[in-house]
């Protein structure tokens, strides 16, 4: 049965309490790489949110209409990945048409959204917790927005850090990971306020 959590609650919960990046540590690699540039971070965050929302809804539909009725749970991973890959491919083509500059700036990270574990992770959460349609929609959008929020926060912090005297050994990835750790601890402060299921 679907949990009794209201979609709006779920929206805020997935952005703050159970931030997919800072609480669940999913979607790290592009998070660390792209956050060094604010404009690209904005673009990627937007792309991830869009992909997350669309794939969540489509995956939910496939789950309810195909996988569960036909008892193909063991194939759910494969099917979800195929859906994600296709949607990312379509998004790439649309971005290239609408904004070639953004397409160039995101470079390899656009197709890398496909293997961004945050996307598959969120879908699997949806499957495990057995969300209904509205919950899926708000969880999907919320997870994406949470990822977006986190990357915008990190890129702003990194901008400030660039001007600070960081010890040579910690420059770049080192100080970034430490920062992410602090951010995660800060977000723990939200825990208990809202529930995801």
């Amino acid at each position: 049965m679907s949990p009794l959590v209201h979609p709006i609650t779920l929206l805020f919960a997935s952005i703050f309490t159970s931030n997919i990046l800072l609480a669940n540590f999913l979607g790290m690699c592009s998070f660390i790489s792209i956050s060094k540039d604010q404009k690209s971070s904005f673009g990627l965050g937007l792309a991830v949110t869009v992909v997350m929302t669309i794939t969540m809804v489509v995956s939910w539909a496939v789950l309810k209409l195909v996988i569960e009725p036909l008892g193909l749970d063991y194939l759910s991973f494969i099917i979800f990945i195929i859906v994600i890959a296709a949607i990312v491919q379509i998004l790439e083509m649309v971005i290239d048409r609408v904004s070639p500059a953004l397409y160039m700036a995101l470079g390899i990270f656009l197709p890398l959204i496909t293997v961004n574990c945050a996307i598959l992770g969120a879908i699997l959460f949806m499957q495990i917790r057995n969300y209904n349609f509205w919950q899926t929609l708000s969880f999907g959008f919320g997870s994406g927005a949470g990822w977006w929020l986190a990357i915008m926060l990190l890129s702003s912090i990194r901008k400030k850090i660039d001007a600070a005297p960081v010890p040579a050994g910690l420059k770049g990835p080192g100080i970034t990971i430490i920062t992410i750790g602090f951010m995660a601890m800060a977000f723990i402060g939200f825990s208990g306020m809202l529930s995801v299921q």
Binding site: G71, L72, Y74, L75, I78, A86, M93, P100, A101
Partner: protein, 377 residues
């Protein structure tokens, strides 16, 4: 249904449906339809299929913007001024632009896709540029590292009028994939043939260590091979005045001057002007065309050929001027060339040689605006 069958069937079905959706999206998103390219304020308007880079789209319409790397964004030669708004400069274009070019919306035509009607500015001379299919008629080593490449235009090119250019211009040689080279590139060489010879193009190619094109010409190209050439390009040429002309070149820099001097011999143009040609080399083995130049000097009393060797070997038995070409030039200015007539300088060679010669020329009374050069840059 048997799960062994059901599983793969469902996965295949889902994949096919998604592939179909991708295909449809691709057709919608990448179909730009027909667009127009307006060149030089309506001088020429092309209707083309949209979606491809400007460079290739123009080439398809037989307008050849110069390119050395074949459109891969690594040479910066294909600059075109775009008058319409095609979006901000891409990160692949910026390394090749200076701030003034960015402000004027000068773009790399290999990076800008033609997605809607656009207006561009092209130099007039580009309309005369054609792509010629040629065959190698003759290859001759004029020195140990310079090859004379004599190409014959294809029959259709000759029937269409052959090549028309002014002496001093250069052409782009298309180097096809060979050895380790996987995609074709183009390199520029001054034409040493004359415009009178409409059916041929001659180039002087000097072997550069590690050079992609020169290695191909010297080690792979054979007589009878077909070669594509794009041209003519360039603004180097004789100015129509009565001034004394001072030519300075070295090595393969001889090419444009050979074209100019032979043109003079064939048409009688410029024979009333005094011409001094300073050709510098290290030793006798770097010298060439000595007989041809001596012959021209005998036939045309106004033409003076001054070959100079900077480090002649004893076995060269050299009786001519010795020293760096800039020094020889300077001494001739002071002793042999009369100052009562206006002078023009024509230079072909490396930026270093050109800068040095410009200094000597300006010190000897030739204004900077009267010095013309074909910089190897």
């Amino acid at each position: 249904m048997n799960p062994l069958l059901l599983g793969p069937l469902v996965v295949a079905l889902i994949s096919s449906i998604l592939a179909l959706i991708i295909s449809i999206t691709d057709r919608i998103v990448n179909d730009y339809g027909e667009v127009t390219i307006d060149i030089n304020g309506g001088k020429k308007v092309l209707t083309v299929k949209g979606g491809s880079p400007l460079l290739g789209t123009l080439a398809f319409q037989n307008i050849f913007v110069p390119s050395a790397c074949g459109g891969r964004g690594s040479c910066g030669a294909c600059k075109v001024q775009v008058l319409s708004d095609v979006g901000p400069h891409l990160p692949t274009e910026l390394p090749y632009m200076n701030p003034e070019e960015v402000a004027r919306n000068v773009r790399l035509s290999c990076q800008v896709k033609v997605k809607q009607n656009i207006a561009i500015e092209l130099p007039e001379a580009l309309f005369n540029v054609r792509k010629f299919k040629t065959t190698v008629e003759r290859l001759r080593n004029v020195t140990y590292d310079i090859k004379e490449v004599y190409l014959r235009l294809s029959d259709e090119a000759i029937a269409a009028g052959g090549i028309s250019f002014t002496p001093g211009q250069y052409a782009q040689l298309v180097v096809p994939p060979y050895g380790d080279l996987k995609e074709s590139i183009q390199r520029a060489y001054s034409m040493s043939s004359t415009p009178q010879d409409k059916e041929h193009i001659e180039l002087l190619v000097r072997l550069v260590p590690g050079g992609i094109a020169t290695t191909w010409v010297h080690q792979y190209l054979k007589e009878g091979d077909t070669v594509e050439v794009v041209g003519p390009f360039g603004e180097f040429g004789v100015r129509d005045t009565d001034a004394v002309m001072v030519f300075v070149a070295g090595g393969s820099g001889m090419a444009p001057f050979k074209s100019m001097l032979n043109h003079m011999a064939q048409t009688g143009q410029w024979t009333n002007r005094e011409i001094w040609y300073f050709f510098g080399a290290r030793s006798k083995r770097d010298m060439f065309y000595l007989d041809e130049m001596a012959d021209l000097a005998t036939r045309f009393p106004n033409f003076h050929f001054v070959p100079a060797l900077s480090e002649p070997k004893p076995e060269d038995e050299w009786n001519g001027p010795v020293g760096l070409i800039t020094n020889v030039l300077d001494s001739y200015f002071k002793e042999k060339i009369s100052k009562d007539k206006p002078m023009e300088g024509y230079l072909c060679g490396s930026p270093g040689m050109i800068d040095a010669c410009v200094k000597v020329m300006t010190a000897n009374g030739i204004g900077q605006d009267k010095i013309y050069f074909d910089k190897f840059a």
